[in-house]
């Protein structure tokens, strides 16, 4: 998918989000991330939002969904680069207590 790039290094899978995440793009992103996740079974998943231009509650759903997927398969999860608006949305859902919002 355009706007999403995935890298692997030493068992860590990093997803760089370079596009807008809304309901329209979230389903494609979800398919692609989960596809790579189950094919490679990383021990750590990082979602990097540094270059994400927009997200709404569908982005929140995408992040929460990947987090619970990790929880279920004993994989570490980290989120990087959330901007103030994304952090605000994550905070509304109480995700700030679960994730340590880095960067």
């Amino acid at each position: 998918m355009d706007g999403l790039s995935i890298e692997f290094e030493n068992g860590q899978m990093t997803v760089f989000v370079n596009c807008e995440i809304d309901h329209h793009t979230a389903s494609r992103a979800r398919e692609e991330i989960d596809g790579e996740f189950f094919a490679n079974m990383p021990h750590r998943l990082v979602i990097d939002l540094t270059n994400m231009r927009f997200m709404d509650s569908s982005g929140l759903g995408l992040i929460m969904g990947r987090y619970s997927r990790c929880l279920a398969s004993g994989c570490e999860f980290a989120l990087y680069g959330a901007d103030e608006r994304a952090k605000c949305i994550l905070r509304m859902a109480g995700m700030d207590k679960i994730l340590n919002l880095k960067g």
């Binding site: 809304d22 309901h23 329209h24 709404d56």
Partner: protein, 154 residues
């Protein structure tokens, strides 16, 4: 209130300075089109980037709800009407003729969702409320829903 007070009130009433109406099909590709259009409209006030991004996000939530909840697998129209006033407020009304909401108060509570497919977390209305200055919802089951939001650009 006496006559003079009434007159003063009428004089200070905010004036409508611009208006836009958009009708869109309930295709998910139109979510970004809708929020981009309304942000472009509000840009006429030369607002700060952050406040504009807040409005963009709130519009995205309401339009997505029309597609995901109101029409579901069916197709329908989404009606958007935005107005700009002399006091630098923008109001946006987003209306659908979909399934309606049986209990609006409950639907607006954080984490409440009827979404079963995909990953809905029930935070759309909370996002609209925190990124605008006010959200009101009217709905009738089987007839549709109308979401009205206002935001003041400082």
């Amino acid at each position: 209130m006496n006559q003079t007070e009434k007159k003063v009130k009428r004089k200070t009433k905010k004036a409508l300075i611009n208006e836009i109406k958009i009708t869109l099909n309930s295709d998910s590709a139109n979510e970004s089109l809708a929020r981009t259009c309304i942000a472009a409209f509000a840009s006429q006030l030369d607002p700060c980037i952050d406040q504009l991004a807040d409005l963009r996000c709130a519009v995205s939530e309401a339009v997505t709800n029309c597609i995901v909840h109101a029409y579901k697998e069916k197709k329908g129209k989404i009606y958007i009407n935005a107005r700009m006033y002399s006091d630098r407020t923008v109001s946006v009304r987003i209306t659908d003729k979909g399934c309606g909401i049986p209990d609006v108060e409950r639907a607006m509570q954080p984490l409440f969702t009827t979404g079963s497919t995909e990953e809905r977390c029930g935070m759309g209305f909370s996002v609209m409320e925190s990124f605008t200055d006010g959200v009101s919802v009217s709905s009738a089951v089987g007839k549709g829903t109308s979401v009205f939001m206002t935001k003041k650009f400082e």
